[in-house]
């Protein structure tokens, strides 16, 4: 039985890397796009099977537990839907000749490689391996992220140094499951320094201000499917790593509490991003900054800790992934039709392109935290639970939320309503992924199935 489950894990890892190799050599757009979709679907199914069958025993390299299975399933699902979207998106790009077949190969291969890297980062039980995996996932790095990598690595080394005297030399001192067992008699001072570096290292990838600089550019310049994956998934990878080490640090009473640090950075990112939203002229950058804002909220929630806040944080992360990728699907098609990413040149979408327009409205309404969509529930829990414990923090949080809300709705009213502007050509878009995500978010906002809830609550416990 556990072998079967082990195969499932293997599948989650091998399908992407294998198809990446295949896609790198295969010619032709239709075939490769289809293959891309099929591969992603297969990966998603494998991940689902992980839910069904009993978990494999943690090996030095592989670990599957409540925490990362959330991430894996979410990751593979959004990966799958995005591959569908990317098929129709890339088709258009090819027609307009903005994309050469050569680059196309590279693109698909990269896509699968990213998926592989992310899945690996999730399942790896070895913090060094995890680091490598995160790096693979973000091969599109610039100097900025390079620093982040370096910090993360240094932190990892420090953790190893802290663990070695207790756990023993070599392999074991990097196996998370062992680390967490002995965490309480690690050397606190080392752990502290380690956490600072890990926090900044992975925080750079989460996009916390002021380490966020790479994020908007990466979103705006890359092709939209990649932006969707970045916002929807990659940030989660880094977040996941962060959480692992937060748990580790929390397990050691003598070390500093990671909470305050995360709370501060979260609030800073939230407020900063909220202000930045007001002056954005590029629609993809706009939503990139909103991703920073939401990452701030999530990190804040996990920093607050406690069953309610952790639950809310997890929920918020899932909802944000789904919503934000849906928004990017819409934005991708819109910017293709209008031939620009300038917000000022896009007007009155609900008149010219009702499906896209209302889809975007729904997405922004969701991301702005309005009911009956999912993010409202998480924000409700975060704010109310915080206000009961730390009123002042809650006030800052609420102000940040209000600021961001103002900015987003301001842009929304100008983009979705008013006299139409720009090309009104009909969109040959695939609405399925967008509306699939949105309807999921809608359902989650009103009704969360009991098993999901119980499971989330386990994870919330795990996060302490």
């Amino acid at each position: 039985m556990s072998t079967a489950s082990f195969d499932a894990v293997a599948a989650v890892l091998l399908i992407p890397i294998g198809s990446a190799a295949l896609l790198a050599i295969l010619p032709g757009y239709r075939l490769t796009a289809r293959l891309n979709v099929v591969a992603s679907l297969a990966t998603f199914l494998a991940a689902l099977s992980l839910l069904m069958i009993e978990r494999p025993q943690p090996t030095p390299y592989v670990l599957v537990d409540d925490l990362n299975i959330v991430f894996i399933v979410l990751n593979t699902f959004v990966g799958f839907t995005t591959s569908i979207f990317s098929a129709s998106y890339i088709a258009h790009e090819l027609e307009t000749g903005r994309l050469t077949p050569v680059y196309l190969r590279f693109y698909h291969a990269m896509y699968q490689t990213m998926m592989f890297g992310m899945n690996l980062a999730f399942v790896s039980n070895n913090i060094g391996l995890m680091w490598v995996a995160v790096e693979i996932a973000t091969l599109t790095t610039v100097l900025m992220v390079g620093i982040g990598i370096a910090f993360a690595l240094f932190g990892t080394i420090l953790v190893y140094m802290a663990a070695r005297p207790v756990v023993g030399e070599g392999q074991d001192a990097m196996v998370w499951t062992l680390l967490i067992q002995h965490a309480d008699n690690f050397d606190p001072a080392l752990l502290n320094v380690a956490f600072v570096f890990l926090f900044l290292g992975y925080g750079t990838k989460v996009g916390l201000a002021p380490l966020h600089a790479w994020l908007p550019d990466a979103h705006a310049e890359g092709p939209t499917p990649i932006s969707a994956v970045l916002s929807g998934l990659l940030l989660n990878v880094a977040l996941y790593a962060l959480l692992r080490f937060k748990i580790l640090l929390a397990a050691n009473p003598a070390a500093i509490a990671p909470g305050p640090l995360m709370v501060t950075m979260g609030l800073v990112s939230l407020v900063f991003a909220a202000f930045m939203l007001y002056r954005r002229r590029d629609i993809k950058r706009l939503f990139a900054y909103s991703s920073i804002e939401h990452m701030g909220i999530i990190v804040f929630a996990f920093g607050m800790g406690g069953p309610l806040a952790n639950f809310a944080g997890l929920l918020h992360m899932v909802m944000h992934s789904l919503t934000k990728s849906a928004i990017f699907y819409a934005v991708g098609h819109i910017s293709q039709i209008k031939g620009t990413q300038r917000i000022a040149r896009i007007r009155g979408l609900t008149d010219t392109h009702p499906a896209l327009g209302w889809g975007l409205v729904m997405g922004v309404v969701a991301i702005a935290g309005l009911p009956p969509l999912g993010i409202f529930m998480s924000e409700f829990l975060i704010v109310s639970s915080t206000f009961a414990r730390q009123p002042l923090l809650a006030i800052v949080l609420v102000l940040g939320l209000l600021l961001a809300f103002g900015a987003l709705t301001l842009r929304l009213t100008s983009v979705a309503f008013g006299e139409p502007r720009g090309s009104t050509a009909a969109a040959e878009a695939s609405y399925v992924p967008m509306f699939a995500h949105l309807s999921l978010v809608l359902i989650a906002g009103i009704y969360l199935p009991a098993p999901l809830v119980i499971w989330f609550q386990h994870v919330a416990q795990l996060l302490g």
Binding site: W131, V132, A150, Y160, R164, A189, L190, R281, D282, R285
Partner: protein, 222 residues
Amino acid sequence: MQMHSLDFDISHTLAGGLVLISFMMLYQDRLYSLLNVFALHALVLALSVAWQAFIQDAPHLYVTAVIALVFKAIVIPVALHRIVKQLGIHRDIESAVGIGPTMLAGMGLVALSMVLMLRVTAEADPLAREDLAFALSVVLLGLLVMVTRRNAVSQVVGFMSLENGLVLAATGAKGMPLVVEISVAFSILIAFIVIGIFLFRIRERFDSVDVSALDHYRGERE
């Protein structure tokens, strides 16, 4: 015991030397000399790594040492010399902050890393303690170089010295797996960056005086 203390002293000296060389980088104001100093930095690193390989008798570390020697001490500096020549980057480095303050900041950073590491309880063996202190200072000094230099090449150099600090720490960590892979991964990353500089013809610096070009690239201003 005597032997062990000798091991200790040697590795200690090498690590300390690395910090010293990082300081030397801080007050270089000619590109070529900076590159040379960096080559020296890499050389010392290679030595210390090799020494660690010897005393921990971990043969795989020799690979790292070789990489450090060949790639960082020879290939990269030569390549950068080329770039400087071909792109006609003029030779002296404008530093954002004066040398004096930079040195002071460097002192402060080293002191900071010492303070942080001295908190470490003794049972993490002394070697680790000292090494970590040195490694941390090298990292911070490398970062300081990147921050205070306006010139693209020197920023890359700063990054590489920072990364040397990492390798130092990694090798100092007895029996740490994946060190080789990591150093390889980093070398690739650096190669990417250097090639990037070469391809994109980033002549003087990452921050050109007229930001408008940058903004156009960001599509954020009319």
